[in-house]
C-alpha cells in the first residue's frame, strides 16, 4: 500500500512538473547566458527582456529556401489575429479576442479550445481594433485578458476555466487586450481606454486565486506625489488617460518591471495644463507591490497621442566603453531612448524618424524642446505634424540582436494635418479626444514606412528598406541571420539581417498583424506566425484592401524540408 502511495506520489509529481512553468523557467526564457531551452517560448517578447531574438540558426541564409509550411490550423475568428503564441512541452497556446486554443506542435491538431462570450457592443469602447496579444503561462495554467475587462486562468491541460476576475466595468471605457506578465509570482496587467477618458492602471493579481494584490493608477490621486502636475482647479486627473496596454519587461535581478504608459486624455490639451504624470512615461515598479521605484516621462503634457506603451527592450550596451544595463524604446514621439535601467538616468535620445514638434531632447533635463509646431497645435490651429499621432513607430514590436547590438523595427513615415478642437465635458464610456486629424498630400514615391536596422545609441540606420504600399503592422523576430515579419497583404517574409534584402516569402491566407516566434521541436527549428487581418487595419486600410485580403484567422507553422 505504501509502495502504491509512493508510486502515485512520484507519478503525480512527474505529471505536475510536465505541466508547470516555474519562475526559474520563466526567467530562463530567451536568456542566452543560461542553458538555452529552445523548445519552449514561455513569455511575451521571447524573454523577459522583450528582445524577440533567438540564436537558433538551422533556418539561415543558405537553408531558408527549404522553409515550407508544415501545418495550418484555423482559429475560427474574423476579428483579426495579433497574438504571439507560447509553447511549452510540445503544446502551443494561442489567443485572439474570442478564443484560447491549445495545439499539438508536432501535428498541428487542436487539443482544446476555450471561447469567451463578451457583450456584442463591447467593441464600442475599443478604439483600435478588437484583438488580443497573447497569454501568459505559469504553474500549469494559461492566463489571459478579455475585451470586456476580465482576467482569467485556464487549466493548461484541459482548457477548463479555473477563475475569472472582473478588472473594471467595460461600459465605462476600459478594455483589456494585452498579454499578462508573470513577474516574481505576480500576474500583472494594464488597461486600454485612454481614448475614453479612463484613469489608467497597472494591476497585480494572485495567479493562484485571481485575487487583486495591488492597483497602481498611472495618475496619482490628490495628495499623492505627482498629482501636482495636474490642474488643481479641475478634476482632469480623474479622466486623464494613461493606459498601460502593452506588456512590460522584467529584470529579475533588479526585481523591477518596466511598463510604458499611454497618452493623456483628452488628446486636446486645453483642460489639463502641467506635465500630467505619469502619462506617456516609463514606470519602473516592484512586481510584488506596484511601488514606483523611478519614472521617466518621455512627452510631458502630451498633446499628440504619443503613447509610451511600446516595448521596453532590456539589454546590455557598451556606452563610452563601459557596459550598461539599459532599457530602450523607439517611442511614438519619434525619438529613440536609451536609459540606465538601474536608476532611470537618460543615456541617449535621438530622432529615428522625421520629427517637427520638438528640436531635440535636452539631456540635462530629459525633456523635449518643443518647436513652434507644438505651439501652433496647442493654440488649436490646424498644423502639419510629424510624426503623426500614429507615431514614428506604432505597436508593431521591434527586435534586438545582442550580437549585432542593433534594433530591427518596422517604422512609419507619416505626417498629418492635426488640430485640437474645443474640449467638451467628459461623458462616461464615450470618446474623449476632441481632435481633427486629416491626411497630408504625399509626394509620389515617398515611402510610408521602413523596415530598418537601427543603432540604439545614435539612431543611425545600418540599412533601411522603404515601404511604398502598406505599412507593416507585424512585429519583427530576429533569428540568427534572419528577420521575420509579415505584411497586411498576407506575405510572411524573411530578410537578411545584415542587409535587409528579402530572401523568402510565403503567402498566408489573410493579412498578418501578429508576432512570429521560433523554437525547436524534436531537434528541428520551427517558425510560427498567426495570419488574420484585423486590429488597427479596420480603422486604416479596410476599404483599400477589402477586395484583396480576406479575413479569417489561422496559425501557420514552418520548418525546413529535409534535403
Amino acid at each position: 500500500m505504501d509502495r502504491c502511495k509512493t508510486t502515485l506520489a512520484v507519478l503525480l509529481l512527474a505529471a505536475g512538473t510536465a505541466n508547470a512553468q516555474t519562475l526559474d523557467e520563466l526567467k530562463a526564457d530567451g536568456q542566452l547566458t543560461d542553458a538555452l531551452k529552445t523548445d519552449n517560448v514561455l513569455t511575451y517578447g521571447m524573454g523577459y527582456h522583450l528582445q524577440r531574438y533567438s540564436p537558433l540558426n538551422q533556418i539561415n541564409r543558405n537553408t531558408i529556401k527549404r522553409l515550407v509550411p508544415v501545418w495550418n490550423l484555423s482559429l475560427d475568428n474574423n476579428w483579426g489575429e495579433q497574438a504571439q503564441p507560447l509553447v511549452y512541452n510540445g503544446v502551443m497556446y494561442v489567443t485572439n479576442a474570442r478564443h484560447t486554443v491549445a495545439i499539438d506542435v508536432g501535428t498541428g491538431k487542436q487539443i482544446w479550445k476555450h471561447t469567451l462570450d463578451w457583450p456584442a457592443d463591447t467593441p464600442r469602447v475599443v478604439c483600435c481594433g478588437v484583438s488580443n496579444k497573447g497569454a501568459a503561462l505559469y504553474n500549469g495554467r494559461v492566463y489571459r485578458t478579455t475585451l470586456d475587462a476580465h482576467v482569467l486562468a485556464l487549466d493548461a491541460q484541459t482548457g477548463k476555466e479555473l477563475w475569472k476576475t472582473k478588472v473594471a466595468e467595460w461600459t465605462e471605457g476600459v478594455s483589456l487586450t494585452l498579454a499578462p506578465l508573470i513577474a516574481n509570482g505576480v500576474l500583472i496587467i494594464g488597461n486600454s481606454g485612454a481614448e475614453y477618458g479612463v484613469r489608467g492602471f497597472i494591476d497585480g493579481y494572485d495567479p493562484e486565486t485571481g485575487k487583486q494584490l495591488w492597483r497602481r493608477y498611472t495618475i496619482p490621486a490628490r495628495g499623492e506625489k505627482g498629482n501636482e502636475t495636474w490642474p488643481q482647479n479641475n478634476n482632469a486627473w480623474e479622466t486623464g488617460g494613461g493606459s498601460a496596454w502593452i506588456t512590460g519587461s522584467y529584470d529579475a535581478a533588479l526585481d523591477l518591471i518596466y511598463w510604458g504608459t499611454g497618452n493623456p486624455a483628452p488628446w486636446a490639451s486645453q483642460s489639463r495644463a502641467g506635465d500630467n504624470l505619469y502619462t506617456s512615461s516609463l514606470l519602473a515598479m516592484r512586481p510584488k507591490t506596484g511601488e514606483i521605484v523611478w519614472h521617466y516621462q518621455f512627452t510631458p503634457n502630451d498633446a499628440y497621442d504619443y503613447d509610451a506603451c511600446w516595448e521596453l527592450i532590456l539589454a546590455e550596451l557598451k556606452v563610452a566603453g563601459k557596459p550598461r544595463k539599459v532599457v530602450m524604446q523607439l517611442n511614438r514621439n519619434g525619438f529613440l531612448y536609451v536609459l540606465d535601467r538601474t536608476n532611470g538616468q537618460l543615456i541617449s535620445a535621438k530622432p529615428y524618424e522625421k520629427v517637427n514638434w520638438a528640436t531635440h531632447i535636452d539631456m540635462k533635463t530629459g525633456r523635449p524642446v518643443e518647436t513652434d509646431i507644438a505651439k501652433s497645435i496647442r493654440e488649436m490651429k490646424a498644423t502639419e505634424h510629424w510624426p503623426s499621432t500614429r507615431g514614428g513607430k506604432n505597436w508593431q514590436h521591434a527586435a534586438f540582436n545582442p550580437n549585432t547590438g542593433l534594433l530591427y523595427a518596422n517604422t512609419l513615415h507619416e505626417g498629418r494635418m492635426y488640430k485640437h478642437l474645443e474640449t467638451k465635458p467628459f461623458e462616461k464610456g464615450q470618446r474623449y479626444m476632441f481632435i481633427e486629424n486629416l491626411p497630408l498630400p504625399r509626394a509620389a514615391g515617398e515611402p510610408i514606412g521602413h523596415i530598418e536596422a537601427i543603432d540604439p545609441l545614435t539612431a543611425e540606420k545600418k540599412w533601411r528598406v522603404p515601404l511604398t504600399d502598406f505599412q507593416i503592422w507585424s512585429a519583427m523576430l530576429a533569428s540568427g541571420e534572419l528577420l521575420f515579419t509579415g505584411k497586411e497583404t498576407g506575405e510572411f517574409i524573411a530578410l537578411d539581417a545584415a542587409t535587409g534584402k528579402q530572401l523568402w516569402q510565403f503567402q498566408t491566407g489573410s493579412g498578418i498583424n501578429a508576432m512570429p516566434i521560433t523554437y525547436t521541436y524534436k531537434g528541428r527549428q520551427y517558425v510560427t506566425v498567426l495570419s488574420g487581418i484585423g486590429g488597427l487595419y479596420w480603422n486604416i486600410n479596410r476599404e483599400a484592401l477589402k477586395d484583396r485580403v480576406p479575413v479569417g484567422g489561422s496559425v501557420w507553422t514552418f520548418a525546413l524540408l529535409p534535403e
Binding site: 464615450q430 481633427e436 486629416l438
Partner: protein, 95 residues
C-alpha cells in the same frame, strides 16, 4: 403614430443638426473621419444614400460589419440627430 409621422415630415432643426454634429465629433469621427472626410477603413458616410434613413438608424443602433452597436448608448433621438447631421450640408463643410 400620428405624432411620429408628422415629426418625420418635419425638416431637422438647427439644434438637431448641432446635436448630431456633437455626437459625430465625439463618437464617430475617430473612425469615419473629421467632418466625414478621410474615412480610411470605415464606411464613407458621404456616400450613404440620403433616401435610406431607416437603414442608417438600424445600422447605428444594431451595428454593421466592423461597427459596434450603439443602441445601448445612443437613444433613438440621438441617432435621428446624427442622421440629420450626416445628410446636412454642415457635415462636410464644417460647423
Amino acid at each position: 403614430m400620428l405624432a411620429w409621422s408628422s415629426a418625420l415630415a418635419q425638416a431637422p432643426t438647427p439644434q438637431q443638426i448641432q446635436r448630431g454634429a456633437d455626437i459625430y465629433e465625439r463618437n464617430c469621427s475617430p473612425c469615419h473621419g473629421a467632418r466625414m472626410q478621410d474615412p480610411q477603413g470605415a464606411f464613407d458616410l458621404r456616400k450613404f444614400p440620403h433616401g435610406e434613413r431607416e437603414r442608417f438608424i438600424t445600422s447605428v443602433a444594431r451595428g454593421k460589419n466592423q461597427m459596434p452597436a450603439w443602441g445601448g448608448m445612443l437613444k433613438r433621438e440621438d441617432i435621428e440627430a446624427l442622421w440629420a447631421y450626416v445628410v446636412s450640408d454642415e457635415s462636410v463643410h464644417g460647423h
